[in-house]
């Protein structure tokens, strides 16, 4: 408890102090980098809800990043720049898509579930490519950033603090969900499905609701990402993006509150670091990830604190 408090206090202080610090040393580039990491952390945290706590290994979670981003992009394209409306649509559309994909996928399990979630996301990916109005393969520039009134997303620092706040809110929200009655059923059913059925829980509705919530949260990350890059491309929905999110969750430590955030930081920072040295960085990153999974079974969060079931 105390350790957790110190950890989160440290996280908040460091992340809050980062913009003035990097501006002081003349490296504002890091504001953009950490902002991207925090947006990906939101996406990874949403995946952790279903993968870590629900045992649903979705290999297509980037779909909702894409749906969220395209919602913002398409609305902006037609001149609707009200951020609240855009983000509401991004979250709602992602939830609906997740509900539809989940309704079919969750009837399967194991390798079939992995493949079917991947297949649905590939479908959306190719849909993105085929949408010539919205730039097709090349994607398109955001006509304008989301208009929120109280924060100006064009201001790197303001946008950074908004992402920080939203990331903390999402992590807390997911923490509450997994400790609630609903979350207990979700986690217990991952632990032993036969036992859950025997005491009277049908797993399907719980998993479907979790899948939909995860999609909705990832949709928010997508809306942020569109504003972050100021550009949307189908690449956001590629299987590699889904794989990155999975890696963040696993690397950070599945079924832990801080795990996805730690995983997002670790993966992106190591990637950036290696990119500075060699263009063959994936050759180093790949084995590094394999080793980390073998040696840190509980992920980075396992080093920071104790696990909870």
């Amino acid at each position: 408890m105390k350790r957790g408090f110190i950890f989160w206090a440290a996280v908040i202080v460091i992340l809050a102090a980062l913009p003035p610090a990097v501006n002081a040393i003349g490296q504002p580039f890091y504001i953009d980098l950490v902002r991207r990491i925090m947006i990906l952390a939101i996406a990874a945290a949403s995946l952790n809800l279903i993968l870590g706590y629900g045992g649903l290994v979705s290999f297509g979670h980037a779909a909702y990043l894409g749906v969220g981003a395209y919602s913002v992009g398409i609305l902006a394209f037609y001149g609707i720049t009200n951020g609240y409306l855009q983000w509401l649509v991004a979250i709602g559309a992602s939830a609906i898509v997740a509900l539809a994909i989940g309704a079919v996928s969750i009837r399967t399990s194991g390798i079939y579930f992995i493949m079917i979630t991947l297949a649905f996301t590939q479908m959306l990916y190719y849909l993105g490519i085929s949408l010539d109005v919205f730039g097709g393969d090349d994607g398109m520039r955001l006509k304008a950033r989301s208009q929120l009134g109280f924060v100006n997303l064009g201001d790197a620092v303001q946008f950074y603090y908004l992402c920080l706040a939203l990331m903390l809110v999402v992590l807390y929200l997911i923490h509450r969900i997994v400790e609630s009655r609903f979350g207990m059923v979700l986690r217990a059913t991952k632990s032993n499905e036969a036992r859950s059925r025997a005491i009277g829980f049908s797993p399907y509705p719980y998993r479907l609701v979790a899948f939909t919530i995860a999609g909705a949260i990832c949709g928010l990350a997508g809306a942020l990402y569109a504003n972050h890059t100021n550009y949307i491309t189908p690449g956001l929905m590629s299987w590699m993006q889904s794989g990155d999110l999975m890696f963040m969750v696993i690397l950070g430590g599945i079924a832990s509150t801080a795990g996805p955030m730690l995983g997002a930081f670790a993966l992106v920072l190591v990637e950036e670091f290696l990119k500075g040295y060699t263009e063959y960085w994936p050759v180093i990153l790949g084995p590094l990830l394999v080793l980390s999974v073998i040696f840190f079974k509980r992920g980075l969060a396992g080093i920071v604190g104790k696990p909870h079931a």
């Binding site: 609630s180 632990s191 036992r195 025997a198 005491i199 049908s202």
Partner: protein, 244 residues
């Protein structure tokens, strides 16, 4: 309260349940015995809804439950324990039972309040743990309980759903002599308050606990009756008891 009519289940060419007619009366402890491979667990699994019969009917409390899934039957008051221990190993003993309490209470689509802080779930769970003798071990991870304790936890979870009928599939499986004696004592205490179907290998336990016994051999029910009648039945002796 439970009535089974002409139940049939085939696995390929093997007829694991061969036209079983079976009945459990309110309040009784009904034991099912039979040699290995007689189809006891297959039969129990069909009662609990884990396996679909090929034909026949299962009527529980006056309602045909044959088409219902296991979770639906559980919510109607049919609780089972498994022959091979089936618990939530990563959760504490108290969490395990609290989940069963929650399953019975309903209202599981609540997303905000911490479930571990809810007295409405924790208090009944604690009482059941005390009842089965695991009160002291409430905070221990289920994975770290001794085998016998896990078997007790298994029964505790079934009890926590406040069942009308308990299906206990070899509750003494894998227990030492002392542990099984304690379990027999515990089940003897439950007898007066619960209707039970007890599948068990331990003949001493069966004859001590059962009001009636049904004998299953090769998927067929060859006899049903009171313990003394079963003990004296020549067919049963030939098929089963005699080989002991």
């Amino acid at each position: 309260m439970l009535e089974v009519r002409r139940l049939v289940k085939n696995f390929g060419a093997l007829r694991a349940t061969d036209g079983i007619d079976f009945e459990v009366r309110e309040g009784e402890t009904h034991a099912i015995i039979g040699p290995n491979g007689a189809g006891k667990t297959t039969f129990i699994s069909q009662l609990a809804g884990n396996l679909r019969p090929d034909s026949g009917r299962i009527v529980f409390g006056g309602e045909d439950v044959t088409p219902l899934s296991a979770p639906k039957r559980a919510r109607k008051g049919l609780a089972r324990s498994f022959q091979i221990t089936s618990i939530y190993p990563e959760f504490s003993a108290l969490d395990n039972v609290a989940l069963a309490v929650q399953a019975h209470a309903g209202h599981s689509f609540r997303f905000w309040k911490p479930a571990r802080g809810e007295a409405a779930l924790r208090e009944p769970a604690r009482r059941v743990l005390d009842e089965v003798g695991l009160g002291e071990r409430a905070g221990v991870l289920a994975a770290n309980l001794a085998h016998g304790e896990q078997r007790q936890l298994e029964v505790a979870m079934a009890l926590a759903t406040r069942p009308r009928l308990l299906l206990l599939d070899e509750p003494m499986a894998g227990m030492g002599i002392e542990e099984s004696q304690r379990m027999v004592g515990f089940l003897a205490g439950l007898k007066s308050r619960h209707t039970m179907i007890l599948v068990e290998h331990d003949m001493d336990a069966v004859f001590k606990l059962a009001d009636r016994i049904s004998v299953l051999v090769y998927g067929r029910l060859i006899a049903t009756g009171e313990p003394e009648a079963i003990r004296a039945n020549p067919e049963v002796r030939a098929a089963y008891l005699g080989t002991d």
